[in-house]
Symmetry: C2
Subunit: 179 residues, 2 copies
């Protein structure tokens, strides 16, 4: 069986919502079995996530997440601006959210939830951290906290880090640092 | 500073779209600095993801992802049905997508992208696999493939596994099996 046999063909597209960050489409598609179905797709500009390592610790941010109605402990991250390169975005978000600049090591690019969104996140490890603050988004509120590398796996197991991209970034960085 | 100072309060809600899988709301919120802002939130019923291990290999599925317009290599996963418990859903998706049942080990629950969606994914390792096929969703098309554990990190590094939840599940399972 060839790969192409799994493909779904777009028959028509309906724009549901064009927002500030996301765009939602409802597409009618032709399935491989000849039937039609609907696909609800959330388009997203893409994001970066950074694991800032001081050597002994990871710098993380506590922020309120409206979608979850609570604070989460996450690695620095943010949406890519139009035309912005992921590396530039990663350095900007790192400085805005933690006050530090650093050297980036690329860890990979992964899709958040390809069943309904095209959001891709580019992951980086940042080391050689230097204090170099950049004015933060004035409507963004967060607190920086330092998590020792030797405690982070326990925090994940205890459910204290609920954000998937943060856990993914930390595990990728841990693997990279280990060799 | 107390945690509550970061909270954003909902002032009004506008329903943008109520679909088959997702619901999209636009909420106007009161920020901690007294200003108002908008929040575009995609509500999702939640999902499960399973890392089926034969001991030497992981069973994975190739499927066409309409949001990305290509096939991806992923661990078995799927949406939770109304009232369905995550463990039941995990066993159902495993049987539907691979034909196997197994014993589940819980690996954690993580949010896919809390900046814009409340989707949570419950992760499991499945071992003691036994052939026990369940009729698949008739509009779901996929192919099962076996990936040796000792090759999976190379596939991730080469960008052959682009789905974030698959990489997260595999790294969590690897960590669990190692320790």
């Amino acid at each position: 069986m060839k790969d192409s046999t799994l493909k779904e063909k777009c028959l028509s597209r309906k724009l549901i919502y064009k927002g500030k960050i996301i765009t939602v489409n409802y597409d009618t598609v032709l399935l491989p079995n000849g039937k039609t179905s609907g696909r609800e797709i959330v388009h997203h500009p893409g994001a970066v996530a950074v694991v800032p390592s001081t050597g002994n610790s990871i710098l993380m941010v506590k922020q309120y997440r409206y979608a979850l109605d609570r604070e989460t402990l996450e690695i620095p991250a943010g949406k890519i601006d139009p035309e912005e390169k992921p590396e530039i975005c990663a350095l900007r978000e790192l400085r805005e959210e933690t006050g530090y600049s650093g050297s980036l090591v690329f860890l990979g690019s992964f899709y958040s939830s390809p069943g309904f969104t095209d959001e891709v996140i580019h992951f980086y490890l940042a080391d050689n951290l230097k204090w170099s603050p950049l004015k933060t988004d004035e409507d963004e509120f967060l607190r920086v906290t330092s998590v020792p590398w030797d405690q982070v796996m326990d925090l994940i197991k205890m459910g204290k880090i609920e954000d998937g991209k943060s856990v993914l970034g930390i595990l990728l960085a841990k693997h990279k640092l280990a060799g």
